[in-house]
C-alpha cells in the first residue's frame, strides 16, 4: 500500500516537473500591453481556399439552422473560400478561441476587441481593400473599441442597444428610467432580471453617472475603485430583488413568458421573439439615462493562415444585401448604410434606428475596462479582472 502511494507520488512529481519544464519554454510575454506592430496587408491576393471563423450565433449562417437562412454558401461559390464556423457564445469565449491561433477572423464585440488588439491576436486592417467600408455608418468608424491611433482593426458589422423591457400587465405605469430596476426594484421583488456578465456593472455605473453626479462617473467603462464600489453597492442592493440573471437569450424569452421575470435589461431580438410568440404583453424603452450596447466588428487574426479569404469575407459580410440579411436575422442595426434598401421589412432600419447617429450616441458601447482609463482620463481605472471579482461578490 505505502509503496504504491509513494510510487504515485513520484509519478505526480514527475508529471508536474514535466509540465513546468514544457511551460517555461513557451513563456510568451503576457504582459505586453501594446497592439501588434504588424503592417496591414497592402493588396488582396487570390483566396487560399479556406476560412476559419469565430462567430456570434446568427452571424455566419450556412443554412444548417434554417435552410432559407444561408449567406455562407453564396460566399463560398463566389470566392472559393470554404468557410468553417466556430460559434462563440460569449465575448470571453471568443477571446479564448482566438488565442489558440487556429482562426482567421472573429466577429468581436467591443468588450473583446481591445483585449484581442492588445494581446496581439488581431491585425490592423487596410480599409482601402474593403470597398464596402466606404458606406458604413460614420459613427462606427475609428472608435475607441475598434481602432488604435486612427488605425482600424476590423470592419464594423452591426450594433444594438440594451433596452429596458417590461411586462405591461404587471408594470402598469410605463417606466422611462433605469431607476425602475435599481431603487424601484423592490416593487417587483423576485421578478427583476439582469444580464449575467461583469459588463453589466457598466449599466449600474451609467445610471449612477446621471443620478449621483458627485461620484464623477463620465464613462461607465472607466471607473475608479470608488466608482466601481458604488456601482457594486447598487447591484448588491438590486441582487435582493433579482429573480434570476440571464446570459442565454432564449432563457430570457422563457423567463418572461412564464412570468419568472417581469422587468429588466433586454435585447431587441428578445423583444421581437416575445412579440411574435404573443404569450405575454411586453414593451421596451431606451431609458432617459441612455443605455449600454454592443457594436460588433469583424477582425482579422494576426496569425491568419488565410488572410485573403478573410478580407473577402469582411467585404462580403458588410455588403448591403448580406448585411441586411444578417441584421434582420439577428435583430440589430446593420453597420452598412445601404443595407436599409435591402431589408425585407421596409421599416427595419427605422425600428432599429440604424442610421440615427443621435440614437447611437445615447449608447455606451461595451468596451473592455482597463487600468489605463478607456476615456483617456488617467491610469487609475479598474481592470476587467476586478470587475469579474466584483460581479462574483455581487452574486454572493
Amino acid at each position: 500500500m505505502s509503496t504504491t502511494t509513494r510510487r504515485l507520488g513520484v509519478t505526480l512529481a514527475a508529471c508536474a516537473a514535466l509540465v513546468a519544464a514544457c511551460s517555461s519554454s513557451t513563456n510568451s510575454g503576457g504582459g505586453t500591453a501594446s497592439p501588434t506592430k504588424q503592417e496591414p496587408l497592402a493588396s488582396i491576393g487570390a483566396g487560399e481556399g479556406q476560412l476559419n471563423l469565430v462567430s456570434w450565433p446568427g452571424y455566419a449562417e450556412d443554412g444548417s439552422n434554417d435552410p432559407k437562412v444561408d449567406w455562407v454558401h453564396p460566399f463560398e461559390q463566389e470566392t472559393g473560400c470554404k468557410v468553417n464556423i466556430k460559434i462563440g457564445n460569449t465575448s470571453d469565449e471568443m477571446v479564448q478561441l482566438m488565442r489558440t491561433g487556429q482562426y482567421d477572423g472573429v466577429s468581436a464585440s467591443g468588450d473583446a476587441t481591445l483585449r484581442l488588439i492588445y494581446a496581439g491576436d488581431v491585425a490592423p486592417v487596410n480599409t482601402d481593400l474593403v470597398p464596402n467600408y466606404a458606406t458604413i455608418s460614420d459613427f462606427l468608424k475609428n472608435k475607441e473599441w475598434n481602432s488604435v491611433d486612427g488605425q482600424m482593426f476590423g470592419i464594423p458589422h452591426g450594433w444594438g442597444a440594451n433596452l429596458l423591457m417590461y411586462n405591461t400587465d404587471v408594470v402598469k405605469d410605463a417606466p422611462d428610467s433605469w431607476g425602475a430596476v435599481f431603487p424601484g426594484a423592490p416593487e417587483y421583488k423576485g421578478k427583476v432580471t439582469a444580464y449575467d456578465s461583469p459588463i453589466y456593472i457598466a449599466d449600474a455605473a451609467l445610471y449612477l453617472s446621471k443620478t449621483k453626479p458627485e461620484l464623477g462617473i463620465k464613462n461607465p467603462y472607466a471607473l475608479t475603485s470608488e466608482q466601481l464600489d458604488a456601482a457594486t453597492e447598487l447591484l448588491k442592493t438590486q441582487h435582493g430583488n433579482i429573480g434570476e440573471y440571464w446570459s442565454d437569450y432564449t432563457k430570457a424569452v422563457q423567463a418572461f413568458e412564464s412570468g419568472t421575470s417581469v422587468i429588466g435589461t433586454s435585447w431587441q431580438v428578445i423583444a421581437n421573439m416575445l412579440t411574435s410568440d404573443d404569450k405575454v404583453k411586453i414593451a421596451t424603452v431606451l431609458p432617459k439615462e441612455g443605455s449600454t450596447g454592443w457594436s460588433d466588428t469583424w477582425m482579422l487574426a494576426s496569425k491568419a493562415t488565410h488572410p485573403n479569404c478573410m478580407y473577402k469575407w469582411m467585404d462580403y459580410i458588410t455588403s448591403p444585401k448580406v448585411n441586411a440579411a444578417v441584421a434582420e436575422y439577428f435583430g440589430e442595426a446593420p453597420a452598412q448604410t445601404k443595407a436599409c434598401e435591402f431589408t425585407t421589412d421596409k421599416n427595419f432600419c427605422a425600428t432599429y434606428h440604424a442610421t440615427d447617429a443621435d440614437y447611437a450616441k445615447q449608447i455606451s458601447y461595451w468596451t473592455t475596462p482597463q487600468k489605463k482609463c478607456v476615456d483617456g482620463s488617467g491610469d487609475n481605472c479598474t481592470a476587467y479582472s476586478e470587475w469579474v471579482d466584483k460581479w462574483q461578490q455581487i452574486k454572493g
Binding site: T11, C15, S28, D92, V95, G243, T368, K371
Partner: protein, 283 residues
C-alpha cells in the same frame, strides 16, 4: 523441455497481461494524473490583468485568495451543504425503495421497479433539468396542483439534483440488500428479534457499504454540478459556477485551477471519511 514450455507459457501470459493493462494504466497516468498535475501547477501561475494572457511565474497568491476570500468560502459552504442535503435525501428515498425491491416485491414488480429507476438515465441531463424548470415555474404544474412552488433557488437545486442522482443511490443499495441472505433474516426473527431490530442489527451493517458507495456518487456529482444551478437555481451560484466564471468569463485559468482544488479536497476528505468507516473495503 517442460521447463522451457512452462517458461514460454508464463512469458506469453505475462505479455498478454501487459497488453491488457498498459492501455488503462497509460490512461490513468497520462490523462488523469497528468491533467491533475497540470491543474496543480497552473494554480501557481498568474495572468496579465488586461489581456488575460498567462504569466508563468510561480506565486501562492491564488491559493491564499481561495482560502481567505469570503465569496469563495460562502460558495464552498453552500455547495457542500447542497451535496450533503442531496446525499441525505437520496439515502432516505433509496433505502426503503431498495428494501422493498430486494426483499418484498414479486419478481415481476421488482423488474418493473428496476426499469423505472434506471429509465431516466436514458434521458439527457439537460432535458431533465429543463423539465424541472418547467415544473417549478410560477405558472407550472406544481403551482397548479399544489398551489405553491418553491420557485427557482437552492431548494429547487436540491430537488433537481436529488432527482438526477437518485438512480446512482438506488442501484448500489438495491444490490447490497439483494446480497443479504434471506436465511439471516429468518434466523434473526426465529431468535425473537422484531422486524425493526433485524433491520437495524442484521441488515444495516451489511447494506452500509452499498449506501456508502451510492453516497460517493451523489456527493461528488452534486459537488461538481454547475449546470442545474443555472437552470433552476435562480440567482444562486455554486462553486462550479464560480470556477466556470473565473475560467471562461474572467479568463483567469490559475485562479480557476486553485478554486477547483476545493472540490478535489472535499471529495478526497469524503472518501477518507468513508474509508474510516470501513465501507470501502466491502465495495
Amino acid at each position: 523441455m517442460i521447463a522451457a514450455g512452462r517458461f514460454s507459457h508464463r512469458f506469453r501470459s505475462r505479455l498478454s497481461l501487459a497488453f491488457l493493462l498498459i492501455p488503462p494504466l497509460a490512461w490513468l497516468v497520462v490523462v488523469y494524473l497528468g491533467s491533475l498535475a497540470v491543474l496543480l501547477v497552473s494554480a501557481l501561475w498568474s495572468t496579465d490583468t488586461f489581456t488575460g494572457a498567462l504569466v508563468h511565474t510561480f506565486t501562492g497568491d491564488n491559493i491564499v485568495r481561495v482560502v481567505t476570500d469570503m465569496v469563495f468560502r460562502a460558495a464552498t459552504l453552500r455547495t457542500i451543504g447542497v451535496a450533503l442535503a442531496v446525499t441525505v435525501i437520496c439515502i432516505a428515498l433509496a433505502v426503503p425503495l431498495a428494501l422493498y425491491m430486494a426483499k418484498v416485491a414479486s419478481p415481476r414488480v421488482r423488474l418493473g421497479l428496476v426499469v423505472a429507476v434506471t429509465t431516466p438515465l436514458w434521458a439527457s441531463y439537460l432535458v431533465k433539468a429543463y423539465a424541472w424548470r418547467m415544473l417549478l415555474s410560477g405558472q407550472g404544474p406544481l403551482a397548479w396542483v399544489a398551489g405553491h412552488t418553491p420557485g427557482y433557488g437552492l431548494v429547487a437545486v436540491v430537488l433537481t439534483l436529488t432527482y438526477l442522482w437518485l438512480p446512482y443511490m438506488v442501484i448500489p443499495v438495491f444490490a447490497a440488500f439483494e446480497r443479504v441472505p434471506n436465511t439471516l433474516i429468518d434466523a434473526s426473527s426465529d431468535l425473537g428479534a422484531s422486524g425493526w431490530a433485524t433491520l437495524r442489527t442484521v441488515m444495516a451493517p451489511l447494506v452500509f457499504p452499498g449506501i456508502a458507495a451510492g453516497s460517493i456518487f451523489t456527493f461528488s456529482l452534486s459537488m461538481g454540478d454547475y449546470i442545474a444551478v443555472t437552470i433552476v437555481g435562480g440567482k444562486t451560484q455554486m462553486l462550479g459556477n464560480i470556477i466556470y466564471g473565473q475560467l471562461v468569463t474572467a479568463n483567469n485559468q490559475p485562479l480557476a485551477a486553485a478554486l477547483s482544488l476545493i472540490p478535489l479536497v472535499a471529495i478526497i476528505g469524503y472518501l477518507l471519511a468513508m474509508r474510516r468507516t470501513g465501507a470501502l473495503e466491502n465495495i
